[in-house]
Subunit: 148 residues, 4 copies
């Protein structure tokens, strides 16, 4: 993916508004948006007791939520304002126990299509300033007419 | 899968204890265990505002959490007490918008192996007593030594 | 999937014609069509030396080809004559070594959508009249305008 | 993956011998090994009529075979001579019609584990000296004792 075409100049605001509207991402995971660029989005969550498993690692579906959001918003940055991105399917591989003070999912678009986009996301656990890859997602996103 | 061998006679209790120990499943999703049989487990969650998207459907990663748990616990019912099941990877297809008063994930073991098990899970949204398939998962589970 | 709607009364012929047009399926794998019903298709291949690995089991991508074809043709049975089905993505789990005198892939539609369909396929190795599950596929199929 | 440890100094020969022993890869696809480095392997196939679909693009399962082999051999380069790599599962996304005079699959190891490795592979169609990404695979590989 080189030089993606920008169809919505307000793509950064669009990502922020969408995340804020998702109660699960905003209120439960307290996720925030990191870096946003055409075809690339970071979604971040801080460690909190209720997201952890007994051993201290984050629950896998939290990693799925961060990766799915980062990948989907990455696709959202490349479509016009009249389109929403929904997840058709995703696959997530767990690479290492999900320890961290914070987790950063970095989503990117591998193929931007009119209807279907293929995206990936790496999720890193951050501890003491060091990042470790804990999960990797490959996903198919679908563009649908936006709801007002 | 016919006539699976039971290696842990306390497999029902094991599933319940494990779910209770998972803060994310227990406190955040308020998930409960439904039917448990050898190689088959149901995990259930009730609709609550913070799990929903703006349109009223459940957030996809909640469906992932339910499906992953149901599939993993299905594999857990078939291993001895000295083994824990962890998720190596999963793939989730979204089949319909996740509307429901309640969601039921039904996991089952497709192939029980010494190290790797292959499981699937169907997730249904329940409204007015009717069940609708909203997501389907295919996943690879791995047996690891249990922590005391 | 109950009572799928038939939009192409010639769906059986369509499957046969399509398989015959695929040199790889027809000439390389010598695959044939088994049972065809709305939303369900069988694709069969016989063992031949060049499809086998050194240990005698079939090469995994032959199982992928059979499963993908069975799943895609299952989706094809449910669309009108103006549409072709193409594979957007698939996931294949290997369940047992692929021994067999013959392999049968049984594809079925889990969700028939206007644009995207979700299908699965089981692949069985047949030896001495007994079937053994050797692989399972979950896949996303896309309807596109048919070429004349 | 930085500075992977080499446990088999003959890893290049191992990849070549393995490909030569696979009748399906060697005789049917006429695949060859390209660049081999620790954790990275290229597998290449030339266009031939029997690998093509009616429209001229390669059959998807040929891309699957190349990607699976490249990813699996990438994992093979990082294990000792006493271990073989087998595919537990893979997911393949199709990104563009598979046109080409030749296809190159580039596999790499994302996570090298004792039992499970996670790998990806990009498959490019080459036409007139230009490469185009036509498919992307994410896969879980398993190390098993090598057969003599």
């Amino acid at each position: 993916m080189s030089e993606p075409k920008i169809r919505n100049p307000d793509y950064v605001a669009r990502v922020g508004q969408s995340l804020a509207s998702q109660a699960f991402m905003h209120q439960v995971l307290c996720a925030t948006v990191g870096r946003v660029a055409p075809g690339e989005v970071e979604i971040i969550a801080e460690a909190r007791h209720e997201l952890l498993q007994p051993g201290g690692q984050v629950h896998g579906s939290v990693l799925a939520a961060l990766a799915d959001s980062a990948a989907g918003y990455a696709a959202q940055t490349l479509v016009g304002p009249e389109l929403d991105i929904v997840t058709a399917e995703f696959k997530l591989n767990f690479m290492a126990p999900g320890f961290g003070e914070r987790w950063i999912a970095r989503g990117k678009v591998l193929r931007a299509g009119r209807t279907l986009s293929v995206c990936s996301a790496d999720v890193f656990g951050v501890q003491g300033g060091e990042e470790k890859l804990v999960a990797h997602m490959l996903t198919t996103m679908m563009a649908v007419p936006a709801h007002d």
